[in-house]
């Protein structure tokens, strides 16, 4: 997987790994906007790091629903320097969403799906950017669109 360094316009390889206990020393609310450690009770946490250095630049909380062949992205955040107009890298959220898609395919093959329940003000952006489908308060991806996302991000 790669993200794009905006200043140099170069591709930078990244990987996704499970968050370990020791990581919480570097996962602060000021850098990642939420109290992530609290989520470990209900979700599995994943971090996006550079392939060649263990600096965390994105976090994601996933909840698996095996009876529905679905993984829900409960929360996702890019690091503070990667939000807004002055951000350093492009594609952090996309890589993490594609990784959730990969996990779902690994568990549920062609029945795999991912979903999120974003705030109403921004749900249209996920539909537009990731080709997600609306379903009540949720938006979701499955089938061809899910497989395409994995291909686009070259997981």
């Amino acid at each position: 997987m790669i993200i794009i360094e905006i200043a140099g316009k170069r591709s930078v390889p990244v990987i996704v790994e499970r968050v370990e206990k020791a990581d919480f020393r570097n996962i602060t609310k000021s850098r990642f906007s939420f109290r992530w450690e609290e989520l470990t009770k209900v979700a599995e946490l994943y971090k996006l790091v550079f392939a060649d250095k263990p600096i965390i630049i994105g976090l994601m909380a996933l909840i698996d629903f095996p009876s529905e062949c679905r993984i829900e992205i409960k929360l996702l955040a890019s690091s503070v320097e990667n939000v807004g107009k002055g951000k350093q890298y492009e594609g952090i959220a996309g890589c993490l969403i594609a990784y959730a898609a990969k996990k779902s395919i690994e568990n549920y093959s062609s029945l795999a799906s991912i979903s999120l329940m974003p705030k109403t003000e921004i749900r249209q952006h996920y539909i537009k950017k990731y080709n997600m489908k609306p379903a009540g308060q949720h938006v979701f991806l499955e089938g061809g669109a899910l497989l395409n996302l994995v291909n686009i991000y070259d997981i």
Binding site: I92, S109, M117, P118
Partner: protein
């Protein structure tokens, strides 16, 4: 930064590019939302094409293979033959038909599936080409290597057998 501050500081598009922030719902709203999603998923899955099913099943096999290769531990049940057999099941082919498609003898295919023969590079490349690059040859290679690595680390019989050919040894180092 609180959610309120995030929405004050950034545009909706900037937020969607960097975050997924969940909506706050009551338990009743949550239940209704989950019901709507389950219905939409059920309907959507009915429209899966055979090609999408096959591709999804193949990707599952690839990702499970990847995950196993990344792990340090060796599982004696997850052999080359095991994954090859799963590949045949995913593509829904009989041994005879598949052997013809990659132009190897059916007996050789059976031996590979039963881990009675070691695969060579040609077979691995043919498997990659047959899957249209979904499962790369290097994955099959690493899988075979993982078995070999375990074997060479743990096989005491080979050490006993080969020790007869060692006529001199370095001293034991403290």
């Amino acid at each position: 930064m609180s959610v309120r501050k995030i929405f004050e500081k950034y545009t909706n598009e900037e937020i969607a590019h960097a975050f997924i922030i969940p909506a706050k719902l009551t338990l009743k709203q949550q239940k209704e939302a989950d019901r709507e999603l389950a219905e939409a998923l059920k309907k959507s899955r009915l429209s899966l094409t055979d090609e999408q099913r096959l591709y999804g099943d193949l990707l599952q096999l690839r990702f499970q293979l990847e995950t196993y290769l990344k792990q340090d531990h060796f599982d004696p049940t997850l052999t080359f033959g095991h994954f090859l057999n799963r590949y045949l099941k995913v593509i829904n082919k009989k041994k005879k038909e598949f052997a013809e498609e990659i132009q190897i003898h059916e007996t050789l295919l059976s031996h590979l599936i039963n881990d009675r023969r070691e695969p060579n590079e040609n077979i691995m490349v043919r498997l990659e080409l047959h899957s249209n690059n979904v499962i790369p040859a290097v994955y099959w290679y690493k899988l075979a290597e993982k078995e070999k690595e375990h074997h060479i680390k743990t096989d005491s019989a080979i050490r006993k057998r080969e020790s007869q050919f060692i006529s001199g040894r370095l001293p034991a180092f403290a």
